[in-house]
Structures are given as C-alpha cells and as structure tokens.
C-alpha cells in the first residue's frame, strides 16, 4: 500500500494550478461544485486505495482551521 504523498509531487505546479482555474472559468457556483465533485470521484477511482483516500480526507480536514 502506497502512503499519501504530502511532499511536492507536481513538476509543473503553476501549470497544474492554472489548469484547475481554467476548467472552472465562467462556470456558475453550481456548475463549479458539480465539476469538483466529478473530479474528486474520477481521482478517487484513479487512486483506487481506500487507505490513501482516507489519509487524504484527514489531511484535507485538518489543513484549515475548523469553520
């Protein structure tokens, strides 16, 4: 089982980030939320490892102060 990678792992970080923003450009909040959800599901399937996904959920949950 692979560990969740939390060290830099994107060779072209700025490009990837720009791709994300570009995909959402011009979308309503509703369409953006839907796109994000589809993206998460596609990536989750690609990762295909529940333990890694749970570690990712934990990392996401604890990265920002609770709202």
């Amino acid at each position: 089982m692979a560990d969740l990678i939390l060290k830099p792992n994107l060779a072209q970080a700025d490009d990837v980030y720009a791709d994300l923003l570009a995909a959402h450009e011009g979308l309503s909040k509703e369409d953006s939320d839907a796109l994000n959800a589809r993206l998460i599901l596609i990536l989750a399937n690609h990762i295909g490892d529940r333990a890694v996904l749970r570690a990712a959920l934990d990392a996401a949950r604890t990265a920002a102060p609770a709202g």
């Binding site: 839907a34 959800a37 589809r38 998460i40 599901l41």
Partner: protein
C-alpha cells in the same frame, strides 16, 4: 372478484384453551402471522415442535408490501416445503435500468451465477407469499403436525414468569390466559410486545415520504427494474417501476418531507402523478396505495429470557434493497434449530444467545446497506446531492462510476464471521465464500442440487475424503453426505467448496451455514466442532 387479501384465511374459531380451568401451557407460541411468524411455525412444526400462532387479524398482508424475494429466502422456503409455489408464481427478473433526469444513464444485468437451483430474485406480492405459507401450515396441520393458526387472537399482556411467559389474549368471545414455554414475537415493526415489555427500538428516521402504489395495467413495459433519479415527472425526487405477477406493477414515488399524507393518498391526487409517469393513454387500476416514511433501527438484544424477537419487531430497514422479509426469514432459519435443541435438551439454553449474536450482526449489516441506499436516493445535504448527481452524470459515460450508483443493494445473506459457534478455518486454500459462518452456496449434483441434501440436521459433507457415515456426539447425530469429483459435472462444487484444496470435510449446521471445515476427517476435531456449534464448549 375479491382480492386474496380481503378473504379471511384463518378465521376465528374457539380453541379448547379458552375453556381450560387452569391456563393451558404450550411449547412455543408465536405472536404474528406475517411472513416471519408463519415461517417460524412451519419450521418448528415440521420438526415436531408444537407451534401456536396468534394473530389479531385473520387475513394476509393488506396490499403487496414486500415484492422482492432473494435467492437465500427461497432456499429457506425450499427447506420449509413451499419454495416451488413461490418461484412458479413469481416473476424472475435480471435487468435493471437507471435514469437520471430525462435520460437513461445505464442498464445492468444481475447476471446470476450459474449452478443454483433458485434465481437471484423473484417478484411476488407479499399477500401471495403469506398465502402460500398459510397453505403450507394447513397442509402440515392436516398431516397431524403440531401447528395451529388462531385468527383474531390479540395479545394484550405478557408477563415473564421465569420458566415460561403468561399471555393475556383477547378474542371475539372474550379474553383468556395462555402460558408459553417459549414466545416468539413476530408482531411487526410496531411490536406491541416490545412496547409491553418496555424495550427500546432505536435508530434513524429518514425524513422523507414515499407514495407506494400497486397498479394493474396491460402495459408493454419489460420485466425490468426501472429506477429514476430526478425524473421530469417527479422533479427533484426519485421513482421506481417494478413488475409483479398478474399484471400488477409496483410504483414508488418519493414525495419529500412536508406533505399532507391524507391528501396525497386520495385517488384524485395519485392518478395524475401516475399518468405523468406512465403516459396519458395508459389505462390502469389502482390496487393499493400507501404512504410511507422509512426507518432503520433495531432492538439492542433480540432475546429476552423466554421471549425472542424475530423479523420487523426486532429490526426495521428501509425497503431499498429488499431486506425486511428477506432478513426476517434468516432470523427464523437461525433460531428454530437452536430452539428445538434447547427444547429437546440436546443443547444448553445459552445456545439461544448465539441467535442474538448472529442475527444482531445480520441486522447491522442490513441496516448499514439500506441506510446507504437511502442516503444515495434521498440526499440529505446540498453536498451529498452534488456528489450523488456527479456519480449519476459520470455513470452514463464511465464504467467506473456505475458501482457507486446505489438504488438499493439487493439482499444477500450474512456470513456469521466471528460467531461463537464457528471453529477456526482449517481448510488451506479453501474458498473464502464457504469459510466458517458462511451460508452454503448451492451447486448442481447429478440431477439435483446440493442444498436439497442439506439442512434440518447437522451434516458432515465430505468431498473426496473419508469419514464415518454417522457420528454421535453429546446427543447429536451427524450424518455424512459423501461427494466426489464424479458428482460434480459442472465443476461448481469444487470451485465453491474446494478452491485450491484437494479434498474437504465440512460440518454444516441445520440452517445450512458452515460451522467448521478441514482438509480431511479428524474425529477429535470434528467432535469438538459439534460441541462448539451447539453451544456446549
């Protein structure tokens, strides 16, 4: 023509127990002649144990209610002597279609595994299901089996007397008192017995209402299960269409939480909804209409001294996944052989605690599955709806998303992993599906099927292995069923019971669950496993 659910099938007649000077004492009294109470009574009576069924009504279930019956309950009904009628009358289906908005997103085939006598599912109205059980009970009665159905016998009070339970019963001719060595409470989700005993029933209510309509129509919809998420004819909600025998169709329409139930049930409100769904020109008659809210909950314990709860009285699930009656039949399948052994004195009273352990485990599995289906079908937050819709959108295009679509995970039997009755697995290379605790999968054998040769007693199944033909241990006789590669023309037996092993010996319980398995016969180990499976170790 009168509907079967309008005819009294077990009308009230006076029992001599009502005139007894001192209250009559009966071996097993069952409260409730629903599917679960009837199954319990048949199982007991065909094994020679007296079973008296009391019901406050005298007819089968009003309207269809349950319609989907899965393979495992059908196998249990085979053991009870009435599986064939159900399958002959029922509608077998394998294809399902899922719609989202105005488009079909995908279709699936249940693709049932080959080599089983019974289909994966049949659709059959609950009133037929109960009618066939009543017929079977009557047939047993006429053969002299100790079974009796008492209609219009309403239980008013139960009192725990330590070594028996006392019941106060109301009838059209007044009240009487009856004593029961054992009481099985199959009195449904609203269980008055549970309430009389002050027992809890906790869980989760789903804040949603569903309109359930059974309509009779000559329509050329195929024999498939159609499920809609957010269809144009029921915006923002879900819908289901499913076929039953006699040209009856089940329609479920989700209505939401803030509705006026009495208004919604009126034909003038139901008919336009159905027309919007079926088309203006389709002619149909309403057979039964009801509005439901769903709950998932269970009792903390199913056994309370000499009162044992089974079926909906013990646990309730939402209908998505058809786990209500299907799991209730697994309750009585689990309970009856244990109760018989305790009554016969061949096992200690504590064996009944394993009913609690095993069926609470089963109920939790069913509640988990049906809660998840309900959460998918009726998302409770904006975010859960966004994810749900994302899954549906993706499922049209990408195969990976289809297993995530949850319009009901169809009922499969529970494996009693971790049960105190199991002996640790000792069959290296054996298939996981037949590990100790698992229900035996069927397999073709010559002209018949394996499951027909199992059940009602302990069996030692040997495949290419030696063992004595019978074995007596602590008052229990175990009979060998000797099979070899020659009986297994299709290879299904080897695939399901041997895996990578060359030979196998299985100890199988009366409810067709695996208690222990080895690669060859070892007398000491087998004797220990028998004692363990009967609560004596």
């Amino acid at each position: 023509m009168n509907k079967i659910f309008e005819i009294p099938l077990y009308p009230y007649t006076r029992s001599p127990d009502q005139d007894a000077q001192t209250p009559a004492r009966r071996k097993v009294v069952i409260v409730g002649a629903g599917p679960i109470g009837l199954a319990a009574a048949i199982d007991l009576a065909q094994q020679g144990i007296e079973a008296i069924v009391l019901d406050d009504n005298d007819k089968v279930s009003f309207g269809s209610r349950a319609i989907c019956f899965a393979k495992r309950p059908l196998e249990i009904l085979d053991r009870l002597g009435c599986g064939q009628e159900m399958v002959d009358k029922g509608v077998v289906w394998n294809l399902g279609k899922v719609f989202f908005g105005d488009r079909k997103v995908y279709e699936f085939n249940l693709l049932p595994e080959e080599g089983h006598q019974r289909p994966a599912f049949i659709n059959l109205q609950q009133y037929y299901f109960e009618e066939y059980l009543v017929n079977r009970a009557r047939a047993l009665e006429s053969e002299g089996a100790p079974i009796e159905l008492r209609g219009q016998n309403k239980v008013l009070k139960v009192t725990d007397r330590g070594d028996h339970t006392e019941l106060l019963i109301d009838t059209p001719e007044g009240q009487y008192t009856l004593e029961a060595d054992w009481l099985i409470a199959c009195d449904g989700a609203g269980s008055p017995i549970r309430a009389m005993m002050g027992l809890d029933f906790v869980g989760r209510v789903f804040e949603d209402n569903f309109l359930i309509a059974d309509v009779i129509m000559d329509a050329d919809f195929p024999t498939e299960r159609w499920f809609w998420f957010d269809p144009p004819f029921n915006k923002g909600q879900s819908a289901l269409l499913h076929k039953q025998p006699d040209g009856v169709w089940r329609i479920d329409l989700q209505l939401g939480w803030d509705i006026d139930k009495e208004e919604e049930k009126k034909p003038e409100n139901v008919i336009p909804r159905l027309k919007a769904m079926l088309g203006e020109d389709v002619k149909f008659d309403l057979e039964w209409v009801s509005i439901y809210t769903f709950q998932c909950r269970r009792m903390e314990k199913f056994r309370h001294n000499r009162v044992i709860f089974a079926g909906d009285s013990a646990h309730q699930v939402s209908p998505f996944g058809a786990r209500g009656a299907n799991s209730g039949l697994q309750d009585t399948d689990n309970l009856v052989w244990k109760l018989k052994m305790v009554i016969d004195g061949t096992a200690p009273d504590s064996l009944l605690d394993s009913y609690d352990a095993e069926r609470v485990h089963g109920a939790d599995e069913n509640i988990l599955n049906s809660s998840r289906s309900t959460d998918f079908i009726t998302p409770k937050s904006e975010t859960s709806r966004i994810f749900r819709d994302a899954v549906l959108d993706l499922s049209e295009k990408y195969e990976f998303a289809r297993p995530l679509v949850n319009s009901g995970r169809l009922s499969v039997p529970c494996t009693y992993d971790g049960s105190p009755l199991n002996t640790p697995d000792a069959l290296p290379g054996g298939p996981a599906r037949t590990r100790p605790g698992a229900p035996c999968p069927d397999a073709p054998l010559g002209n018949g099927f394996l499951l027909g040769d199992l059940g009602d007693r302990f069996t030692l199944l040997t495949i290419d292995a030696e063992a004595p033909d019978t074995l007596d241990e602590s008052g229990i006789t175990v009979i060998r069923l000797a099979l070899s590669g020659a009986d297994d023309a299709t290879g299904a037996l080897a695939a399901r019971y041997l895996g990578d092993a060359k030979s196998a010996v299985y100890l199988i319980r009366p409810d067709q669950h695996v208690a222990a398995r080895w690669d060859s016969f070892d007398e000491t180990a087998t004797r220990a496993a028998i004692r363990r499976a009967t609560g004596q170790e």
